[in-house]
Amino acid sequence: MKIVVAFIVVLVLAALPYAGIQYAGMSTVFGIIIPYAAVAVFILGVVYRIVKWARSPVPFRIPTTCGQEKSLPWIKQNKLDNPSGTAGVLGRMALEILCFRSLFRNTRTELREGPRLSYASSVWLWLAAIAFHWSFLIILIRHFRLFSQPVPHFINVVENIDGFLQIGVPTLYITDILLLAAVLYLFIRRVVLPQVRYISLVADYVPLLLIFGIGLTGVLMRYFFRVNVIGVKELVMGLIAFKPHVPADIGTLFFIHLFLIATLFAYFPFSKLMHLGGVFLSPTRNLANNNRMVRHINPWNYPVHVHTYAEYEDEFRDKMKAVGLPVEKE
């Protein structure tokens, strides 16, 4: 049911620009107004969300320690999984953000006869996640060719490596295939694994389908139904120069692609996609485990009622004296 809802949502999203461009001639709306609005919502929304998180303090230093702490000098510290200083934290965060370190650790629990439990490492989720995120990033970088004039050289380098295998005309990009395959895997996994399906919300299926839709329309435009790429670039360059105009005859497929992207951008700050920012702010990962070395300050630390020694001695003085324990007041 949730899956059906998600499908409908994405189909409707794809149908909107089709109808708008095809029948209502709303190219200004879909080509200028919505992209501007989406980018504005994206930027302001992300900043708003980050600032909102930042307004809550981190009262305690609670890193999850996944290795030996800094201890006696002859005991080897695991500086990346249990960092004690800034360098280690940067290393840990880099591993986490660039290599998905924690996900790489993933295991699959199996219960066999006996009973006997075993935990085999399971890298498929990690593999799909890393293929997905890196492909997405590289594709984004490649799109910079439509956002710059002249196109910087490193874009060519990325394009050449990505399109190294000269398959088809125009050359197939490996990341295009990887992205679609990875998103498909992540979606199928969510549908097929009973546990994951049980925890999944509509809000989990929608982004996957949305991104798949974006990838698919992109691939269709590149390899099957050519759109006017010069027009696309003119539109984009006009937008970023704040002299927007929509060239004629770009192709409806492009507007579907653009609208899905705009939706993703606008949806981003209000969804779980904010894990992009959140991963930097997770107190279990971005803090050094130097708790006993450096005092951590809690800005809202407040005095509390305690049971003082005086109160304690008052209650038990006689008993203490009876067994010869020293007391403050005789």
Partner: protein, 136 residues
């Protein structure tokens, strides 16, 4: 806001990256591609028309060329019957470049703009740009 130093740095970086397209192009002239049709051969044409419609050629020239080369090399078919019923030798050099003898002013205009780097020229010879070609 807490940890404001780090968070503001992060936000500035984020804003820098996402707004890069905006400031990357500041002060750069927006040179739109302007494929020139001004070649001696085209000048002589009474009705200036490519082998297929302009839009079709813009969208599909590479597929057309690909189909052509398969037909010529693998099926010894050498003639293309256009949708208008015209006949053309399927040859990049003999047909395309015959009119479009101004690679820089024609092909490269869009290719450079859209950052498309075809590897045609590794084998096929760019038309010799005669002085009279394409200069307006």
């Amino acid at each position: 806001m807490y940890n404001s130093g780090k968070i503001i740095t992060g936000l500035v970086l984020f804003l820098g990256v996402v707004t890069m397209p905006f400031w990357f192009n500041i002060g750069k002239a927006d040179v739109k591609p302007d494929p020139s049709l001004d070649t001696p051969v085209i000048r002589q044409m009474k009705v200036k028309h490519c082998i297929e419609s302009k839009q079709f050629m813009i969208d599909n020239h590479m597929e057309l060329l690909n189909a052509w080369r398969n037909a010529v090399v693998r099926n010894n078919k050498t003639i293309y019957v256009s949708t208008a019923g015209q006949y053309f030798t399927m040859s990049l050099e003999d047909t395309c470049f015959h009119c479009h003898s101004n690679e820089k002013q024609f092909c490269d205009q869009c290719h450079t703009y859209a950052n498309i780097q075809p590897y045609c020229w590794e084998c096929h010879v760019k038309p010799v740009e005669e002085a009279a070609n394409g200069h307006r």
